[in-house]
């Protein structure tokens, strides 16, 4: 249900006002009486009256005058331009179809031309005003003139929504009279006491009905706002499957014997200092093989790896293979690739390549280090040996498809071509 513009009290007030307009009370008196209630919502009252005034048939002439007076008085404490109904008043004053006394009354209200100083005319009753009205005494200005005078200083139109600002009155006359009859004819007015006939109606009833039901909103064009569709339910329903039961686990490590790795730990510590005897070496390998977790607890750290590689390359290989899944393996590789080039480190790398997948970057970096080591050796004999060694190493890598020979040698060429025997190696490698 639309919002009603007027509350019950306001409705009564307006009805009483209109009813009393035909009495001999002065307009001023009526106005004063009307505005005694401070809770009156001026805008709503005025808007209702303006809607009623738009229908020329609805209100009697005296009622119309009083209604116009209300529209003016409600906002008379402010500048005329601030009156929201000022253009309505101006238009009514210029309405050629309206009675002249009505137009003159509005001009009086607006104080146009300062004619007979202010409020004197309000001291009479509405009917007196009409009776005493002399058409010749009044000149009617052009609409433009009035607009200029009263609207010019108007504030810019307050912000209003496009759809709403174009609203039209939502009241439609729908006279229910027999076909062919003039709906405006007074014959259909309900005579008091007379029997009601088809098409007759009581104006007062319609008036109070209208006043009770008027709403602020007029009729506006309507926009269709489609409701978005519901999102389709596809995989959204939860299908249930039995969970696997996960029990709380007993910690088997409680009071467990931790001495077992001690032997290997001792041997690894020894292996960092120098080569182990073959039987010791075997023991380490066997124990590591027997317990895949032992390698994590044998006391080796990346920092210690170079010593192990130099002293016991085989153990180093074994340990690294076992650590391949350890989160630390990258650190081990970093240490390995950065340690000094040596026969042992090369052997470790070579063996690793055949056993596990090494990161490509690691192999590449290692080869680069090998080559630069060859270049940097001063001793010719040692350099020769080292070049041969690197070549064999590379050959092995190529054969095992760890690296691509062509790519590798093309890298090798500019830096190490001068090395003795390299040409031979190239032929040998078949590249």
């Amino acid at each position: 249900m639309g919002k009603k513009m007027l509350n019950f009290e306001e409705q009564c007030k307006i009805l009483n006002l209109l009813k009393s307009s035909s009495e001999q009370k002065s307009i001023e008196e009526m106005l004063t009486e009307f505005f005694t209630n401070p809770k009156l919502r001026h805008f709503n009252v005025c808007y209702s009256l303006s809607l009623l005034l738009q229908d020329k048939m609805m209100l009697s002439s005296t009622e119309r005058l009083v209604a116009f007076a209300i529209l003016h008085r409600s906002y008379s404490s402010q500048k005329s331009a601030a009156n929201p109904f000022i253009s309505f008043l101006v238009n009514a004053a210029c309405d050629e179809g309206a009675e002249n006394y009505e137009r003159a009354f509005i001009l009086h209200l607006l104080g146009f031309g300062n004619s007979n100083s202010s409020k004197e005319f309000l001291k009479q009753s509405a009917s007196e005003y009409i009776k005493k009205f002399d058409p010749s005494s009044q000149t009617f200005p052009q609409k433009e003139q009035l607009q200029k005078q009263y609207l010019e200083k108007a504030h810019p139109e307050p912000y209003a929504c496009l759809l709403k600002s174009t609203a039209v009155k939502n009241v439609l006359a729908d006279p229910d009279v027999p076909p062919g009859c003039d709906a405006n004819s007074a014959e259909f007015d309900l005579e008091p006491g007379a029997k009601s006939k088809l098409g007759s109606g009581d104006r007062d009833e319609a008036l109070s009905g209208l006043i009770a039901n008027l709403s602020l909103e007029g009729l506006i064009p309507h926009w269709i706002r489609p409701l978005p569709p519901r999102f389709p339910v596809d995989e959204e329903l939860v299908w249930l499957n039995p969970d696997n039961n996960h029990e709380l686990q007993w910690d088997q490590g409680m009071c467990a014997d931790t001495s077992r790795g001690a032997a290997v730990r001792d041997l690894i510590a020894k292996a960092l200092r120098g080569p182990l005897a073959p039987n010791q070496q075997e023991q380490v390998l066997v124990e590591l093989a027997n317990d895949p977790k032992l390698v994590y607890h044998c006391g080796l750290t990346p920092r210690k790896l170079p010593e192990l590689v130099e002293s016991n390359p085989l153990i180093a290989v074994d340990v690294l293979i076992k650590l391949i899944n350890s989160p630390e393996i990258a650190e081990y590789f970093t240490v390995l690739v950065n340690m000094d080039m040596s026969l042992h480190s090369m052997e470790v790398v070579n063996r690793l390549t055949t056993a596990v997948e090494l990161p490509k970057e690691f192999v590449r970096t290692y080869i680069t280090n090998c080559i630069s080591s060859c270049e940097n050796i001063k001793d010719k004999y040692m350099q020769n040996r080292l070049v041969r060694l690197v070549c064999v190493f590379l050959q092995s890598l190529i054969r095992n498809r760890i690296i691509d020979g062509k790519i590798c040698l093309s890298k090798f060429k500019p830096s190490a071509l001068s090395f003795q025997g390299l040409e031979r190696q190239r032929v040998y490698l078949g590249c």
Partner: protein, 858 residues
């Protein structure tokens, strides 16, 4: 169940070997052994007694405290898991402090090994490997190793459905799983798998699955009799290992390379004694070059089977279990075809003894394929319906099927049955930890919510979603559904301040006066003002008992939540983007894949992650010996990629829906600016469906109109103008169908062999369409005409407006909006008689006598 059986059956084994060393067992070790035995036989009271004795001997030992806590918790019927978590966390903290202290000690020179002097050295080579592994492996773990405590903490979180929290505990363990002893590692992996599957994280699931298959040597189950081979392999291996100190641990008995590798490793041994290392090197390299053609077995590090674990865990049980995990994974990633294949393998492994899990998975498979009847048949075949937990799942799943069949009321019956199963499950005594996780009432409640929403009961649906939000609060979809509840409630007039639905869809006319004085006062029935004023404060707590007060502002809040969650999951990298795991992603996104190997930054290109590594390997070498393993991994890998794609698509769809809803809600709330920005974002989405493009334009145009920008508004609508006054259909019927079946069903070639599934999916069932309640294409045209008419009417272009409104009314004769616009235009044109006749012709007008109301004033 399985794991408990296997672990208890492992007791005699472990025990048997321990018995050999009885002579050297200290008092504490003996007590520990007793306690463990009691624990395994579930005599928790006795166990606690023994542990209390032990405690006096090892004051403050975290492992003793831990076992006491566990035993007491189980003895007392798992009554307070939250408190248990607290206890375990405290012990863990203490253990870490002690470990820290002892580390410092080690660095200052003392030897860790000497700290515990409970036994003499024993030669490990004499110990029978397979059975000893269990106890042996723990020996070397640091005394203060916290992996078991952490595992147990995760177990409890898991049972409480707190998957994100469980994951946060498990992930660090998994990242450093290698040093952890086999049994614990296996438990960690299995639990992790359950957690990531439950949180729908496909890529992590794939990772763990791959790892499990390789590390525990139970992959390739698809080969059927593979188990035997594996067993053989490992026995061979054991034999070889005892005699040959070979560095190549893994070798296939059938590979001739074994000899070579033995050679290769023997040579250098002698080499160290040789005088000329260089020459020796040459020979070694030559040998290696000739013989060591890299075999597939040696290449992939993670393929080293963890052969040492108790065989009993590794039996058929684990194999079946893993196979079922794989099926779950494939179902999660919607790889239906492969799931079907793998379910068959699972049946083969199970050899007749059908587990209810397998049965439910099979039913789920058929459900996912759209074979609803078959799914029902399979569910009905389930024999294990006496088990309350199973029957609650059974009922829930039937509910899902009937929902999909469009029989919402039947599905409601089953869902409520499932819920009552749940509540009786909670009453069962004694309480087990498992009971907590078996309580799926919140999941079922979510399903109920969907069902109520489908039945048009938004308030009760919202209550369901609200309850389910306790576990699903990170799912954008949940919030979208709540918003939909709000919109539906508003639409139905169930929200305070909103009109009842009848009033929204009809024109109300007050008839005032009689006879000559009769006036018609048209009420602006469709005006939405009043809704905005009804905005209550949104003091609605998640999961609280308080009923959510459905309103448009709540809808807006929900939509923003969903968008936020969706954006979070989008921004998290390549990983799978399913809504539910956005929670995890949020936390993990920064330390995801890259930090799995935190040290790798030093060497670019190292990736020891199993999946990528081995897939690439097999491909490049081409000489793999286990083709099945290769395809297996590829399959998992592809599934993840495929699923990520699905998720991306779904998220895109959801984003469209969210933005459209948001634009709508903002319009309803009279915030045209926000509505406009939502509509614009909607239009900017890549791959936006034509339906939502249409909505985007209509909402944007209305918002612009409300912002007094009619020119721009016209631009949005005139996109659909093909002639001066002709609108073309903004979308087609196919667009609607496509929207419903956007998600492809079959992973591999969509039209190849998928058969029933593919076709079923392509043609949406009538039920599916019925659920999709939206404008028909011609109604959409009518909407455009009506809105163009309204727009031109406000512009004063009344002739054009009049033409549009005529077309609108011919397409939408019952639209109140179009009728009102038409009447408006007539009135502005001064054709009040035509307006009157339109009003009287319209079927959606209600004439009200004013007499009844004139005295009722507000």
């Amino acid at each position: 169940m399985d794991s408990r059986d296997s672990s208890s059956s492992s007791v005699p084994n472990r025990d048997g070997t321990a018995g050999d060393d009885d002579g050297v067992l200290s008092v504490t070790a003996a007590l520990a052994k007793d306690a463990a035995l009691y624990f395994q036989s579930r005599k928790f009271a006795e166990c606690v007694d023994v542990l209390t004795q032990l405690k006096t001997k090892k004051e403050g030992d975290p492992k003793v405290l831990h076992n006491i806590a566990i035993a007491e918790f189980l003895r007392d019927g798992c009554s307070d898991p939250k408190k248990m978590l607290e206890v375990l966390n405290n012990i863990k903290k203490r253990s870490e402090e002690l470990a820290h202290a002892s580390e410092e000690q080690v660095e200052s020179g003392s030897d860790v090994g000497n700290k515990v002097t409970s036994g003499s050295k024993e030669s490990s080579s004499t110990t029978h490997q397979v059975s000893a592994s269990h106890s042996a492996s723990t020996i070397y773990t640091a005394e203060f190793d916290t992996s078991v405590i952490s595992l147990n903490i995760a177990v409890i979180w898991f049972h409480l459905h707190e998957y994100a929290k469980a994951l946060s505990v498990l992930e660090p363990l998994y990242k450093n799983i290698e040093p952890i002893d086999e049994t614990t590692a296996l438990h960690i992996c299995l639990l992790l798998l359950d957690v990531v599957l439950a949180s729908c994280d496909a890529s992590k699931s794939a990772d763990v699955l791959n790892y499990l298959e390789k590390a525990f040597g139970v992959g390739n189950v698809s080969q059927g009799d593979n188990g035997n081979i594996l067993l053989q392999q490992s026995t061979n291996l054991v034999g070889k290992l005892s005699s040959v100190p070979s560095s190549s641990l893994v070798s296939d008995a059938s590979t001739p390379d074994l000899a070579a590798s033995v050679n290769a490793s023997e040579n250098p041994l002698s080499r160290t004694l040789s005088e000329d290392p260089l020459d020796e090197m040459f020979s070694t390299l030559d040998i290696a070059g000739q013989n060591l053609s890299r075999s597939a077995d040696l290449t992939s590090p993670k393929e080293l089977p963890r052969t040492r674990v108790d065989r009993s865990i590794f039996g058929v049980d684990l194999k079946l279990k893993l196979q079922l995990y794989k099926v779950r994974f494939l179902l999660l990633t919607r790889n239906i075809k492969l799931a079907k294949r793998e379910v068959k393998h699972a049946t083969n492994i199970a050899r007749g003894r059908e587990s209810s899990t397998a049965l439910l998975l099979k039913a789920q498979l058929e459900y996912a394929r759209g074979n609803h009847r078959k799914a029902i048949k399979l569910l009905m075949a389930s024999t294990n319906r006496t088990d309350t937990a199973i029957s609650s799942m059974f009922n829930n799943n039937l509910g899902c099927i009937y929902y999909k069949l469009g029989k919402y009321h039947t599905s409601a019956v089953f869902f409520s049955k499932a819920l009552s199963n749940c509540s009786s499950l909670q009453k069962e005594k004694p309480l087990k930890l498992f009971t907590f996780s078996q309580d799926k009432s919140l999941h079922i409640t979510y399903n109920c919510g969907l069902q109520y929403l489908a039945c048009g009961k938004p308030i009760i649906a919202a209550r369901c979603f609200q309850k389910a939000s306790l576990i699903f609060y990170k799912r954008p979809l949940l919030w979208l559904r709540l918003a939909e509840c709000c919109l539906m409630a508003v639409e139905k007039g169930l929200v305070e301040g909103s009109r009842p639905p009848s009033n929204r869809s009809e024109i109300r006319v007050d008839v005032i006066g009689k006879g000559r004085w009769r006036k018609l006062l048209i009420e602006d029935g469709i005006s939405r003002s009043g809704l905005v004023d009804s905005v209550g404060k949104d003091d609605w707590a998640l999961g609280g008992d308080e009923e959510p007060k459905l309103s448009l502002p709540l809808a807006r809040q929900c939509l923003y939540n969903a968008l936020h969650l969706l954006n979070c999951s989008d921004s998290s990298h390549l990983k799978c983007l399913l809504p539910s795991n956005s929670s995890l992603e949020e936390n993990e996104s920064s330390d995801g894949a890259s930090s799995k190997n935190p040290n790798h930054k030093s060497l670019v290109g190292i990736d020891s992650k199993p999946s990528t590594l081995s897939v690439g390997l097999v491909n490049s070498n081409g000489d793999f010996k286990e083709p099945k393993a290769g395809t297996n991994q590829e399959m998992i890998h592809n599934s993840v990629a495929y699923f990520a794609d699905i998720c991306r698509k779904e998220n895109q769809m959801m984003k469209q829906a969210l933005l459209a809803n948001l634009a709508y809600v903002e319009l309803e709330l009279e915030n045209p600016l926000k509505a406009l920005s939502a509509a614009r974002s909607l239009l900017e989405l890549p791959g936006c469906s034509r339906i939502y493009i249409f909505l985007g334009h209509v909402y944007a145009a209305e918002a612009l109109c409300l912002l007094n920008k009619p020119k721009e508004a016209v631009e949005h609508l005139s996109i659909y103008l093909s002639g001066p006054n002709k609108v073309e259909s903004p979308f087609s019927q196919e667009d609607c169908e496509q929207w419903l079946t956007e998600k492809p069903i079959d992973c591999e070639e969509p039209n190849g062999g998928g058969g029933g599934a593919a076709t079923a999916a392509k043609n949406p069932s009538p039920e599916g369409m019925q659920e999709f309640m939206f404008l028909k294409p011609e109604e959409a045209c009518g909407t455009l005409y009506a809105n163009l008419a309204a727009l031109y009417a406000t512009q004063g272009e009344l002739d054009r407006a009049h033409q549009f409104t005529t077309q609108a009314l011919s397409l939408l004769p019952n639209s109140t909006e179009a009728t009102m616009t038409a009447i408006y235009i007539d009135l502005v044109l001064g054709k009040s008689q035509e307006a009157l006749s339109k009003l009287k012709r319209c079927s959606h007008v209600r004439f009200l006598s004013s007499n009844l109301q004139s005295n009722k004033s507000s």
